[in-house]
Amino acid sequence: MNIILGFIPLLDSASLVVAVERGFAAQEGIELTLVRETSWANIRDRLIIGHFDAAHLLGPMAVASTLGIGHVRVPLIAPFALGRGGNAITASLRLWEQMERAGAVPGGHPRLQGAALERVVAARNSAHLEPLTFGMVYPFSCHNYELRYWLAASGIDPNRDVRLVVIPPPFLVDALRAGQIDGFCVGEPWNSVAVNAGAGVIVTATTAIWPMSPEKVLGCRPEWAQRHPMQLASLLRALYRASQWCEQAENHADLAQLLAQPRYVGAPAELLRRGLENALVLRHGSPAAAIPDFYVPVARAATFPWVSHALWFYSQMVRWRQIEFTAEYVAAARATYRPDLYRAALGSVIADIPVADVQADRFFDGALFDAGDLTAP
């Protein structure tokens, strides 16, 4: 059976590409066709109408579609996570200079960087200057919520003190250089592309804000999963084995070359390799800095669809007033992530598969998100 998968050219589409190109899909007796897309809206629409059987999807987009925010209500499910991390926050050279004067240091703790940015923002406010503008990729994305979380925890009101705008990744570097935006939060390779172009400095990896933070998922319609349980299980196993392959250091050079092809990510292999090897060049000309767990394809249950992630996204949707808090929405958000399907496919493959559906997550500011304790704000 041929399974059609949509993807957006980003580093974390790696396991989809590897499943096809290194034979993991064939080993499972399935054929995958990858279709490169230009917008998340296209991915969602083509998933909903059945052009795609499954897709590389923003975790929060699956939840938003299930809840019916920003669009009609169409349930989507996430039975597999496409790794963890891979995002960073980048500042324009001009903003970085101001932040450095205010105490930021290359590779500094997000608390230090946030405090410096807060001083810059406060100075701009008292001088009645235009607020700083930050780009992100979609209203329902980890990038939006991670950026907002860091800003808010640093004493910056994301709605009042700065502007947040959506800019598609391929335009971010130009927008930064043109001064249209002062920074952005995006997945690799786009931070490294900005650094390499001499247009920006990486302020922090978002894994420093939230260690092992979730990112993309494999999304599909519940009807498709119901109709094709065997194919879905084969797909998950192929993706799991591809993710293992992606994590092995000896494959990184090969993987970077593979993703560099124009039909996949289409960015220079050397830049893609930085993210894969957890060693980002933070500023053009500097040596690479080791960022432990920057991008984790498979280790420590990185592919497990934690229901607590779906609930955190929903909590942020409520926090930023994208939707109201109701018990019905909590239940719907919870049902979006499907560890049951993950276990059904991979129970015999993974020895230490998680038995719980939720886990507590700790953030850089010491806050703990306990999904069992989700009540109205």
Binding site: T38, S39, W40, A41, N42, D45, R46, I48, I49, G50, H51, G70, H71, V72, V74, T133, G135, V137, Y138, P139, N159, R163, L164, V165, V166, I167, P168, P170, F171, D174, A175, Q180, I181, Q322
Partner: protein, 217 residues
């Protein structure tokens, strides 16, 4: 490469001006966002012929929010190749000014026309409250015109490719005539025979010959 939209702030509340909803088809405000000028004009023409007189085409992506606010469209079309679709969706999500148009999945019972639209490469956003039959008529028009454009584009591509191939064959014949002292007819015969033997197209054989000749030069 497509151009980036001007960033839109979450607090883009200025320039709010709303006219009364006009009910006749002629006055229905339609905004068309397409960076492909030919395709945009094909659809614009189709809409005008069908009696929709209030059609605005936007090709320049800067200040798009301003344009949307000024035009206050009831229907927005955007081509699916445009990465700025995500920007447009954020605009609808956050702006308190733009009357929130919603994606074309207005009524899930009518998925076939939605499927046709996506297949044709167009997406529509429609303000709430517009009658389903009115929406369908415009959407069908957009689909047929986008398809007409694809057909036109494919025909042009085919014509261009045929021309290229004819040129290649001419050059390959020229090489054979010069190197092997053949007549034009014999040179073509040789190409055709090689193509038949190797189960390839004459143009492909001509291409190899031209490439080989260039390498040996």
């Amino acid at each position: 490469m497509a151009q980036a939209l001007q960033p839109v702030a979450e607090d883009a509340t200025e320039h709010c001006a709303r006219g009364p909803l006009r009910m006749t088809e002629a006055a229905l405000r339609i905004l068309l966002i397409d960076q492909n000028a030919t395709r945009a004009s094909i659809l614009e023409e189709g809409l005008r012929e069908a009696g929709y007189l209030n059609v605005t085409v936007v090709r320049d992506m800067t200040n798009l929010l301003r344009r949307i606010v000024d035009e206050d469209p009831e229907v927005i079309f955007i081509d699916l190749e445009n990465p700025n679709r995500d920007v447009l969706e954020q605009m609808f999500q956050v702006s308190r000014c733009v009357r929130r148009p919603i994606a074309m999945f207005v009524d899930r019972s009518d998925t076939s026309s939605i499927r046709q639209a996506v297949e044709a490469g167009v997406s529509a956003y429609i303000v709430d409250g517009l009658r389903k039959e009115r929406v369908k008529a415009i959407l069908d028009m957009a689909v047929s015109r986008f398809n007409a454009f694809s057909q036109l584009y494919e025909e042009l591509e085919r014509a261009r490719q045929e021309l290229e191939e004819r040129k290649l064959i001419e050059r390959a014949k020229g090489i054979l005539m010069k190197e092997r002292g053949l007549t034009e007819e014999a040179a073509y015969g040789l190409l055709r025979k090689a193509a038949m033997n190797e189960n390839r197209r004459v143009a492909e054989v001509a291409q190899s010959l031209v490439t080989a000749a260039r390498l040996l030069k």
